[in-house]
Subunit: 483 residues, 2 copies
């Protein structure tokens, strides 16, 4: 017995000791992913992919509820198409993978493996849009994309990743703007509700916006090491792409006009956010709504009552399995304590222990992953109690993360203080900026903090002299070091 346990013992660097190593240890040892024999690529293992499936399901139903439909466009983009939009190609060309040969034939035109699909999708939209009656087009795609990254990190930055990208076409600028903001709202509500991750949100600066967009809106989360992570973006593309790809429609007034567009995306990066916001020294801590296993049943075996306990556990797994994602850990050769540790590391929100004493009392002992709190749950109304407990865990996790976000969002009075906070505490800094790109660049150069977003005016509408140059009467914006 000791032998098996030893063989399977998994050690994770404590988060408090080395955040970066903790993250890498954790994603490997909880079998969320494994490194693949292709530069910068990973295999997403079943436990990690199950999280992605839960995220997909929850986001997809919101995308559909707002009137969008899914479709699928080709993986490859002919070089000429990508080059049509100058800013876009400049932004993406340095990081694309090139297909130059098909079978034994050298291609006459190179193909790009999509880093994002504006170019290929716009070339199709140009055919599909003729009249105002064809608008709006509200299409989303779930797919893989490739960006040839120099330095990679599981889930956060990989050469290939999975995402959804929405691409819409509208009659007017107002409609496109409304759509871009609506989808930002969908992302925000989705991430806060399902992933229990509180967010800040707003507009990106000109230098941080998407290559080819008019405006980029973003949701940003704060990781437990004080660095920000962009968790989803929504772009008002204006007429840039419509003009280069010739997406025109005959309007009701019989005039031929260029269409207005948006695009928006969220990716497997969200899994990274989930780990880095909620995880702790003991391992992952997954919010019940997206956890692959919401409750694990661990039998507490004594020699005499073995069969009885196992039978009880199986019965429980079957009943609870109708309402929850439940796993019964029947493995032999591992102690209950070892199993507790493993399931804690895997971040399962609720552990249900069933031992001879629980059976006598006719219930289970429930242990929360978020607080470690232990409580006896009587058999009567068990499903209802578990449901309430899971909801409580979900809410508590959000509140904990919100508390952290608030405590780590600081207003500073001087650039000296700005530097100091970044060095000693990191987190988000809310400070005024003169809106000159030079100041933005210089702050980044000196502190490695970028402007994460310019909050919307109805949220934060203060102004003040630029934290760096002291000039102007600039908006307060969020700064942070980021992933």
């Amino acid at each position: 017995m000791a032998n098996n346990e030893k063989e399977f013992v998994k050690e994770v660097t404590p988060r408090s000791e080395d955040f970066s190593q903790w993250y890498l240890d954790l994603v490997l040892k909880t079998e969320l992913m494994d490194y693949a024999p292709v530069k910068g690529c990973m295999a997403i293992r079943p436990y990690g992919y199950a999280i992605w499936e839960n995220l997909q399901y929850q986001l997809d139903r919101r995308i559909k509820a707002t009137g969008h439909r899914n479709a699928y466009f080709p993986l490859f983009i002919p070089e000429g198409l990508l080059q049509k939009e100058a800013e876009h190609v400049e932004g993406f060309a340095p990081e694309v993978a090139w297909v130059t040969q098909g079978g034994s034939e050298k291609l006459s035109e190179r193909l790009v493996v999509r880093p994002t699909s504006e170019a290929i999708i716009c070339s199709m939209y140009a055919r599909w849009v003729q009249s105002w009656r064809d608008l709006p087009i509200l299409i989303n795609q779930w797919c893989n994309v490739v960006r040839w990254e120099k330095s990679t990190r599981p889930f956060l930055r990989t050469s290939e990743f999975l995402w959804q990208e929405g691409h819409t076409v509208h009659r007017t600028h107002e409609e496109a703007e409304e759509e871009a903001l609506k989808m930002l709202g969908v992302y925000k509500e989705f991430v806060e509700t399902e992933l229990a991750i509180p967010l800040i949100y707003g507009r990106k600066t000109e230098s941080e916006k998407f290559a080819g967009a008019l405006h980029t809106y973003t949701i940003e989360a704060l990781m437990a090491d004080g660095r920000a992570l962009q968790a989803g973006t929504s772009h008002n593309l204006g007429q840039h792409f419509a003009k280069v790809f010739d997406i025109k429609f005959l309007d009701q007034d019989d005039e031929l006009k260029f269409a207005w567009q948006t695009s928006w995306g969220a990716s497997t990066r969200l899994i990274g956010a989930l780990i880095m916001v909620h995880g702790d020294d003991r391992g992952l801590k997954l919010p019940p709504r997206v956890a692959p296993v919401q409750a694990v049943i661990v039998p507490i075996i004594t020699r005499q009552k073995r069969e009885k306990v196992i039978d009880k556990c199986r019965e429980l797994a079957k009943i609870l399995g109708e309402d929850f994602r439940v796993e019964l850990d029947e493995r032999e050769g591992y102690s209950a304590g070892w199993k507790f540790n493993e399931w804690e590391m895997k971040g399962v929100p609720l552990r249900l222990e069933v031992g001879p004493r629980d059976m006598e009392e006719g219930g289970v002992t429930a242990v929360r992953r978020d607080t470690g709190e232990k409580q006896f749950l009587p058999a009567e109304g068990l499903a209802g109690r578990i449901s309430a407990l899971l909801e409580e865990i979900q809410q508590n996790m959000f509140q904990q993360a919100l508390k952290y976000l608030r405590e780590n969002t600081r207003r500073v009075g001087s650039f000296e203080e700005f530097r100091q906070v970044l060095e000693e505490k990191r987190g988000l800094i809310l400070a005024p900026w003169c809106e000159v790109e030079g100041c933005e660049d210089k702050i980044k150069e000196e502190t490695r903090a970028s402007i994460r977003c310019i909050p919307f005016e109805n949220e934060i509408n203060e102004r003040g002299p630029c934290i760096l140059c002291g000039k102007g009467n600039g908006r307060f914006v969020y700064f942070a070091r980021s992933y």
Copy 2:
């Protein structure tokens, strides 16, 4: 009004006139897909993708119910990995896309865009499998794959397509064989139940099996033009891949052994089968279980009662929308008759007409796409009646297709008759074969008919002298021209 209608009139070549052109017209005009500006690739439009989503949902739940879990492996395979298995590389190298450059850097080792994922997945399994305790591994992946095809056809053969590929690892040959057959059974039940397509099934001959497999099992459907289509395959890979990728495990007897594997896949090709089995001169005919729209509500407007009828339709759409995939066609500027034609072309199983007379009588007029039959459905218990009708349509479509399959499966007495049947009627031919590859090749050369499968012995166990050479006492096998 006439103007709009003209603008949107869609003409489809009758199936009876030119099957091939009918198919191409139909997939374009019903907006299942559109050609993309990349050789051999297509965009799957929302109406087509919704079919795929329904198929995915139905197949995925079966894959999970049989104990498999989803995962995701990289798109790219290093050239060296692909080349490890000789038969495999020989089978796929002529039709792969090669990535030779990443960003501005020329790659030191070329990458293949996956044509199938045995090589990359086996390289990971070699790490994950150590002990008999790690087995079985039951993993499935939904993804895109690329095969550089010379001649392509929407859904049936495209350079990029979507599919699922299961990859499993087992302790023994028996377990692998059982798995391969189990998944063939899953495919068969799925296609017959959900797609209403009856199948023949069995083992592929040596020359038709998957590159690198021990045995390939297949389900085959018969299209309405008398050609067969391979609709899904399941492979017992034996130890071929385990040996070249070094997938070994310490067995219970403390011996180090090579593992046994399977792989199995089904793709967007199934959408092509759906069209070609059920469609008719009027257009698509979609089985209710996978139809994106199960019932369309068409208001029959008269000048006086316009508002009342529309209100009634909206109410109906809302109520029925809870149980069915329903669409209400409120478009103005189109006659009811024009809408009828369009929704028939789109293959919607049930049309619900609501006019002033239906309202007086308090119900709707339902018209079946499969039979054209019209019936009045009273308001009371409407959802139940529609549910029963949809189920009836599903069953009827399967029975119709089964009748066609049976009527077009022929036993022939001589090679002369074999030729004649193929020239005049096509369909499936059940005839004995001596099991010599030379005869198989020669039959193919002379008649363009290949052996679709060798039926299982418990299904058809007759024997006779080879239909071509007259020698031996061979098994009866299915021949057909195929897609």
